[in-house]
Amino acid sequence: MNFSTIGQNIVRLLIKYWDKFLITGLSYTLSLAAITVFFGTIFGALIALMRMSRIPPLRWVSSVYTEIIRGTPMLLQLYLFYFGLPQLLPFLNRQQYACVAIALVCNSAAYVSEIIRSGIQAVDIGQTEAARSLGFSQAQTMRYIVLPQAVKNILPALGNEFIMVTKDTSLASTFFIGDLMTQVLLIKGATYLPIEPLTIAAIIYFLLTFVLSKLVGLLERRLRRGDIR
C-alpha cells in the first residue's frame, strides 16, 4: 500500500464523484436521519406514555416492544422490514427507501422512548407532590411542572440519538438505498478502489457527527444555564 497513491486517488475520486458523495449520498443520509429522528421522536413519545400509563396492557405492549427492538441486531431488523413489510403491505412493494426508513423509525422509537421515560423519571418526585398538593391534576402536573423540567434532560439525549442514527443509516446501504455508504459501494465497484471511497466517506461522516455533537454540546450548556439563570 502506498500512501501517496492513495492520496492522489482520493483527490481524483473527489473531483470525479464529488456530487455522488456530497449531493446524492449526503442528502439520502441526512434525510433518512431526519425522518428517523422526527418520527422516532413522535412514536417514541407515544411508547413512553404507554410505558408510564396506568393501564397494564399498554405498559406490557410497550415494554415488550422496547425490549425486543433493543435486544435484536439492527441489521436483522432492517432485513426483516425490507423483506417482510411488502408482504404485509403490498403498496410498499419495491419501495425500498420507505421500508428502510420505517425500520429505522421503529428502531429509533424504542430508544427514544427510553430517553423520554428516563428524562421524565429523573424529575424529582417532590415536584409532582408539590403540584398535586396545590390541587393540580395529574395531567396538569405533567404539562406545567414535570415536562418543562424533563425537556432539559431529554433534548441533549435526543441530540445524541440523532448522531447515532446518522451513523446507523449507513446500514441502509445493505439495500443500496442511495445513502453515503451506498455511494462508497457503487464507486468501489466502478473503480476497483476499496480504500479511497471508504476514506472519503469516513471523513464526511466524521465531520457531520462532529458538527452535530458540537451543536448538542451547545444546546446542553444553554439548557443548563437556563437552570441557574
Binding site: G126, A130, L134, G135, S137, Q140, I145, D227, R229
Partner: protein, 254 residues
C-alpha cells in the same frame, strides 16, 4: 377565628406496605378542629409523614376514613353520590415539605401565582397582587423575580409556605419544615409559622422542634409504630407524659 367545629375527622386510618409486612399507620383516629395547631412528634419511622400525607391523599390509605369539611375523601363518591374530585379538596389543604419542592423553572412570583391562576381562574393581575402582599409579609417582596436556586434554604421554605397560602387553604400541613435547614435559618421559618398560627390558621405540624410544639401548639400528638400513643396539651405531654415510650422519647430529645 374561633376554635370550633371539626375540620378533619380521621377514623381508624391504616396504611400497610408489602401486604401487611410494614404497618406505617396502624389505626389512627383523631379530629382536627378549626384553629388547631396540632403538633405531631415521635421517633423516626413512626408514621408521622405517612399520617400527614394521608390527610391530602398523597398516600392512599389501606383502610379507614378521612372526613374533610364533611366529605369522606377516601371514598370515590360523596353522600349525594357525586364523584369526589380530590384535586378540589387539595386546593383547600396547603402542604409544606421538608425539601421545599419549589418549581425551579419558575420565578418566586410564578411559583405562587400558577395554581391560583390556573386552578381558581383568578386574573394574573389579582394573583400577582395577592402574591406580592404575601411575600411582603414574609419579608421577601424584593425576591419576587428571582428563581428558587438563588434563594437560601430559609428563604425557599418561606416561599413554599406563602405559595401554599396563595391558594387560601383552610388548613396547612407541615412535614418537618425545618429539618433540611441550616440551624441559623430555622428561626426565620418558625417565626412565619408562629405568625400564621396566631392569625388563626388551622395547622398540622410534624416537627422535631420541641420549643415550637410547646410554645405554639395547642395539642401535641405522640406517635410510635404507626399508632397514636398519647395526645394532650403541650403542658401535659411535656410535663406529665404518661406512656413509657413518650417518656423515653422525651428523655432523648429534650
Amino acid at each position: 377565628m374561633a376554635t370550633s367545629g371539626k375540620l378533619i375527622e380521621v377514623r381508624d386510618l391504616k396504611k400497610y406496605y408489602n401486604g401487611e409486612a410494614i404497618k406505617a399507620l396502624d389505626g389512627v383516629s383523631v379530629d382536627v378542629n378549626r384553629g388547631d395547631v396540632m403538633v405531631v412528634i415521635g421517633p423516626s419511622g413512626s408514621g408521622k409523614s405517612t399520617f400527614l400525607r394521608s390527610l391530602n391523599l398523597l398516600e392512599q390509605p389501606t383502610s379507614g376514613s378521612i372526613v374533610f369539611e364533611g366529605v369522606d375523601i377516601t371514598k370515590k363518591t360523596d353522600a349525594q353520590g357525586k364523584r369526589i374530585n380530590i384535586d378540589l379538596h387539595r386546593q383547600k389543604m396547603g402542604m409544606v415539605f421538608q425539601h421545599f419542592n419549589l418549581f425551579p423553572h419558575k420565578t418566586i412570583l410564578q411559583n405562587m401565582t400558577m395554581a391560583p391562576i390556573k386552578l381558581k381562574g383568578i386574573s394574573p393581575a389579582e394573583a400577582n397582587e395577592k402574591a406580592m402582599a404575601l411575600l411582603e409579609r414574609v419579608g421577601l417582596a424584593d425576591r419576587a423575580g428571582a428563581y428558587p436556586i438563588q434563594l437560601s434554604g430559609g428563604q425557599k421554605q418561606r416561599v413554599a409556605i406563602v405559595r401554599a397560602l396563595a391558594m387560601e387553604p383552610d388548613v396547612m400541613l407541615f412535614d418537618e419544615p425545618t429539618s433540611a435547614l441550616d440551624p441559623e435559618m430555622v428561626g426565620e421559618v418558625l417565626d412565619v409559622m408562629k405568625k400564621l398560627a396566631l392569625e388563626g390558621m388551622t395547622m398540622v405540624v410534624v416537627t422535631h422542634e420541641m420549643g415550637f410544639a410547646r410554645e405554639v401548639g395547642n395539642r401535641v400528638l405522640f406517635m410510635a409504630d404507626g399508632k397514636l400513643l398519647e395526645e394532650g396539651t403541650p403542658d401535659a405531654i411535656f410535663n406529665a407524659p404518661q406512656n413509657p415510650r413518650l417518656q423515653d422519647f422525651l428523655s432523648k430529645v429534650l
